[in-house]
């Protein structure tokens, strides 16, 4: 009863402090539950994305002699089935064609038979390039090898004889690798290189051609993706389970190539990276939020001490005193949690463009914050009520001067933590920083927790170091008299260095969190842009098919398009490296650099500038993939013979090149092996040009692309990064974890927390010094002089906080980028610093300090009778 009436009195007397405490609780809980929302969103997003890139979910392959009808029946009973079609494969000895240049014959080839509805049921399997798909179609590479197009006849050579078919179109197969996979191959073998020569034809034609030839029979299956679990890991497990069940129910007469399961498994890694991000970026902010909450609760320390004294005077027992503190904490938590609900919804709708409420996270956050608030209320109260009992009416205030370092710093914990963090970092970085471990061939990913120990140790270490640094800076000797008694102002700051150092540390951590997050996300965004630009080729890329009448005219036009800052033409062709057909990019080393984003990481062991210089100096130079260098035991300076299509007859002839080094990534190049060489040299030795792509650097990619689409004609394919980012799913996980929402959330809360930490720390400082300000007023200090006493402290806190925050932010950003290297593909050359955000942060924080000081100056100027009477 006493507790209730006391609580009512409290609400009447201290509504502002209670509201502030409730609001910070709401912020902390809101932030954590919004962050939890990100985890959930990220997972479902990843399942959608991973599934979206798969056209054929399952390839059910019948073993020889299996009962087709029985398997078919079992397939039709699979849960959530959306589409199914028969597919037949036949290996043939070769394909051939007769062209003006003579007869052309390929090596071993595949013929694929598909039902008519296949293309619609499994949309995305084929990308039409030329002609129609009503009859036999050729893969792009095959068409190039045979120099055949729509309307041309080609011959299929089987062991039974030769069949002639008429080509109706040319297509590209984006998922060639999985389509031609060896179903049932042991895990870890990896997909074999897809065949270079493929003819795809309707089942009717297929049956007519291969009546007696043994074929591989598959049933392709597509599931209803909407019914899959949101978490890619769970979805992958579900599919594995479904697959095992299926394989056992057909009793070994069919095997399953689980493309969807494989894609979802691969997304596990991205999901784990998403969770790492959550840990690395989320926990520090949550810790700052908790620190701010403790600061706010601490604001009532003085007045609560008085109340405890009063309660004791009225004879309240210790139990009742503790109960009142508990009741206050409960009230704060209740207000905070109630407000946290709209805060979560607001934050998620702002960050993710939709409201997300993850109740589990909400409850976890609420319980965590509630315990912190409870402890922050109860601990000092219990201590004080005991002390008051021991020593009634003891002196107050004056003796509570904090000068010494806190125990952890006296023990050198900061140094110990940083040394440990450095050691762990060094150890882990030595073996290439790998947070998410993906063992080869095993469909399991795990987290290398040791890798996370470095930032986990570095955070508190740096925070404590900031404390020590501020303390050290304030430990200067007594200052000599200066104008207007400023030496007394600095004496006060010096003797309050514990409070000042704590406030500066709080600010430094908040600024450090916001700053490192900003740098990390800016770097991530830049790399993700680069990832897309790499796929597209440049800001804008204009790809021309080989048949374009006057390619030079088009590329010249592209170079003069609006907003184009630099342009270079890169030519594409195919080349045989041994028996392996690889993409070959003919570049112009003079002009390519400014036209597209090339990074040093593309050429391991060298720099882009050095690699381009080497190409310029060596016309016959080539850059090769690591596998090629390894497989053929090649070293820089060695010669290599590549077979290239030469002359008008387009026959493959060997040409000698000089190996310059390794290349891992190149604009428009695939993820697997490819070759980079000088375009001029290639033209000279083959007597013909490759298919040109104009790579354009543009300040406004969308409008440049729009202009070009209108002016270059239908044959050219114009792509730009802005468009592509929205539509293509790049192969790497980088684009998969959508950081946009998370970074908005982080950066928003980062600013709010930095401002709150500073404002509250200064306010707490002023509340502690209310008495001193009243004394100053009574001694005739002007408003300006009183402001100076507060302002000096604010300046030190601000300077220490911003400086310390800068150092912490830089160190943590570097570490974050390093720890999360695996999430970047390609890895960044350097971190991107978003100066605008950082400047804004500094300005906001400084403005907060300024307004607190101005406010306090005005407040302290008014006569405060109660304080005066207490003097």
């Amino acid at each position: 009863m006493l507790t209730i009436s006391w609580l009512r009195g409290l609400v009447r007397r201290r509504p502002l402090q209670l509201a502030a405490a409730g609001l910070t609780v709401a912020m902390a809980v809101g932030f954590l539950s919004a962050l939890g929302g990100f985890v959930g969103l990220n997972r479902s997003h990843l399942t959608d994305r991973a599934a979206g890139s798969v056209a054929v979910d399952w390839q059910v392959q019948l073993v020889t002699g299996a009962d087709h009808a029985a398997v078919e029946r079992t397939v039709s009973h699979l849960p959530g089935i959306r589409g199914r079609a028969d597919v037949q494969f036949a290996a043939v000895s070769s394909l051939s064609s007769v062209t003006t240049g003579g007869r052309r014959t390929t090596g071993r080839a595949y013929v694929v038979g598909l039902s008519a509805s296949y293309a619609t049921q499994f949309a995305g399997t084929f990308r039409p390039l030329l002609g129609t798909q009503s009859g036999p179609v050729l893969l792009q590479q095959t068409a190039a090898n045979l120099a055949a197009g729509p309307g041309d006849p080609i011959q299929v050579h089987t062991s039974h004889g030769v069949a002639t078919v008429k080509v109706s179109g040319v297509v590209d197969m984006p998922q060639e690798d999985s389509f031609f996979q060896k179903v049932g191959a042991p895990p870890g073998v990896g997909p074999p290189a897809p065949p270079d020569n493929v003819v795809i034809m309707p089942t009717a034609d297929f049956v007519r051609t291969f009546r007696t030839t043994p074929t591989i029979q598959q049933i392709h299956v597509r599931f209803d993706r909407g019914s899959l679990p949101a978490n890619p890991a769970t979805a992958a497990d579900l599919l594995t389970f479904r697959r095992n069940h299926f394989e056992s129910s057909v009793a070994g007469s069919a095997l399953v190539g689980d493309n969807l399961g494989a894609a979802l498994s691969a997304a596990r890694e991205d999901a784990l990276y998403g969770e790492m991000l959550f840990l690395l970026l989320g926990i520090p902010i949550f810790a700052v939020a908790i620190a701010v909450t403790i600061l706010v609760v601490g604001m009532r320390k003085e007045s609560r001490a008085r109340e405890v004294g009063l309660l004791r005077l009225r004879g309240a027992s210790r139990r009742i005193i503790v109960a009142t503190a508990g009741a206050e904490a409960a009230l704060v938590v209740a207000v905070g949690v109630t407000l946290a609900w709209p805060v979560t919804l607001g934050a998620t709708s702002w960050a993710f463009n939709r409201t997300v409420m993850s109740w589990l996270w909400f409850v976890v956050a609420a319980v965590t914050v509630a315990s912190v608030v409870l402890v922050a209320h109860l601990l000092p109260t219990a201590r004080r009520s005991r002390a008051a009992a021991d020593r009634p009416g003891g002196p107050r205030g004056a003796s509570a001067l904090g000068v010494g370092l806190p125990l952890p710093l006296r023990l050198g914990l900061d140094v110990a933590l940083l040394v440990a963090a450095g050691g762990v970092f060094w150890l882990v970085a030595r073996g290439g920083y790998q947070v998410v471990v993906v063992p080869e061939g095993v469909p399991v990913t795990s987290v290398n927790w040791a890798a996370l120990a470095a930032p986990a140790l570095a955070w508190p270490g740096l925070a404590l170091l900031a404390w020590r640094a501020v303390d050290l800076a304030l430990r200067r000797p007594r200052s000599t008299p200066r104008a207007d008694g400023r030496e007394l102002v600095s004496a006060v700051v010096r003797r309050r260095r514990r409070h000042v150092a704590r406030a500066a540390t709080a600010l430094a951590v908040a600024v450090g969190v916001a700053g490192s997050t900003a740098v990390f996300t800016a770097t991530y965004r830049e790399q993700s842009r680069l990832d897309v630009a790499l796929t597209v080729g440049a800001d804008v890329a204009v790809a021309l098919p080989g048949s374009t009448p006057d390619p030079a005219r088009v590329t010249a036009l592209a170079a003069r398009a609006p907003h184009v800052q630099a342009a270079s033409v890169q030519e594409h062709r195919f080349t045989y490296v041994g028996t392996d057909l690889q993409d070959l990019y003919g570049i112009d080393p003079q002009t390519i650099r400014p036209a597209t984003a090339l990074q040093d990481s593309f050429v391991p062991g060298s720099t882009i500038a050095a690699a381009l210089n080497a190409l310029r100096a060596t016309p016959s130079g080539v850059l090769l993939s690591a596998e090629t260098l390894h497989d053929y035991q090649l070293h820089p300076g060695d010669d290599i013979r590549l077979r290239l299509q030469t002359g008008t007859a387009l026959t493959y002839r060997p040409v000698t090149f000089r190996v310059l080094g390794e290349v891992t990534e190149w604009p428009t190049a695939p993820k697997d092996s490819f070759v980079v060489a000088n375009a001029s040299y290639l033209r000279q030795v083959t007597g013909r040009a490759g298919d040109p792509t104009a790579l354009l650097a543009s300040s406004a990619p969308e409008s440049t692309a729009a202009y070009l689409r209108r002016h270059v004609g239908a044959a050219a394919r114009v792509e730009d990064v802005v468009h592509a980012r929205a539509s293509i799913a790049t192969a790497s996980g980088l684009a998969a974890v959508d950081l946009g929402g998370l970074s908005r959330l982080e950066l928003g809360f980062g600013v709010v927390l930095a401002v709150a930490a500073l404002g509250l720390a200064l306010l707490v400082g002023v509340l502690e010094r209310r008495r001193a300000l009243v004394i100053l007023a009574a001694l005739g200090a002007s408003a300006r002089q009183r402001r100076r006493f507060v302002g000096a402290e604010a300046r030190v806190v601000l300077a220490g906080g911003l400086l310390g925050g800068g150092v912490i932010g830089a160190a943590m950003a570097a570490m974050l980028v390093k720890v999360m290297t695996g999430i970047f593909d390609p890895p960044p050359d350097r971190a991107i610093v978003p100066w605008l955000y950082l400047a804004l942060l500094a300005v906001l924080v400084s403005a907060t300090a300024g307004s607190v000081v101005a406010l306090v100056g005005r407040w302290a100027g008014q006569g405060h009778i109660r304080e005066l009477r207490d003097l």
């Binding site: 002196p395 205030g397 004056a398 003796s399 509570a400 001067l401 008299p481 200066r482 104008a483 207007d484 008694g485 030496e487 007394l488 004496a491 006060v492 003797r495 309050r496 008495r771 001193a772 004394i775 100053l776 009574a778 001694l779 005739g780 200090a781 002007s782 002089q785 006569g863 009778i865 005066l868 009477r869 207490d870 003097l871």
Partner: protein
Amino acid sequence: MTSPLLTATNLSAGYRATTVVREVSLTLRAGDQVALLGRSGSGKTTLLLAMAGLVPPSAGVVDRHSLSPRDVAVVFQSPSLIAELTSLENVVLPLRLSSRLPASEAYDRARRALDSLGVDAVDALPGQMSGGQQQRVAVARVLATDAQVIFADEPTGSLDATHARAVLSALRTHCTAQRGALVLATHDAGLAAALPTTWRLDEGRLHQVVPC
């Protein structure tokens, strides 16, 4: 008669609903040394603060004539020292705030003031001193200034007899030297008797006691 330093006319002061000081009229002139005698709770502190201009009157006026705020000093009832400053720094604070004196002279004066009251712990912080020491530092802070009118609120409350005498005589010497006035609030009739004039405050009303 000299011209008045401070005149209060029908002065009333108090806290919200309660009026503590009722319709007090008085005049302070140079050379006045007055004991304000009253029981605890009679309104002495309130009257002193109202006269010093630190508490607004609820009725009536206080005319401080040509006195500037810095010419009026208060020794507060509980030692009102800044916790982060040493004795010396606390005493020198008002001098440094006004910057009428060069720094070295200000510190000299502060040292002399502390010396005159027998405070030798010049570098001690308030938290390291006894209540009595703190009270003497607070008195020294007033003595170091050029204040013409001093309102001292029970300045000897927590002092032994020897120190109390020293404080009283230092305050009186300062007043005489400054040709100013001293009002010393006390509940101790013996102490009041040491001053030439006594005003008795009873239930917020002022009665002049003419010495016999």
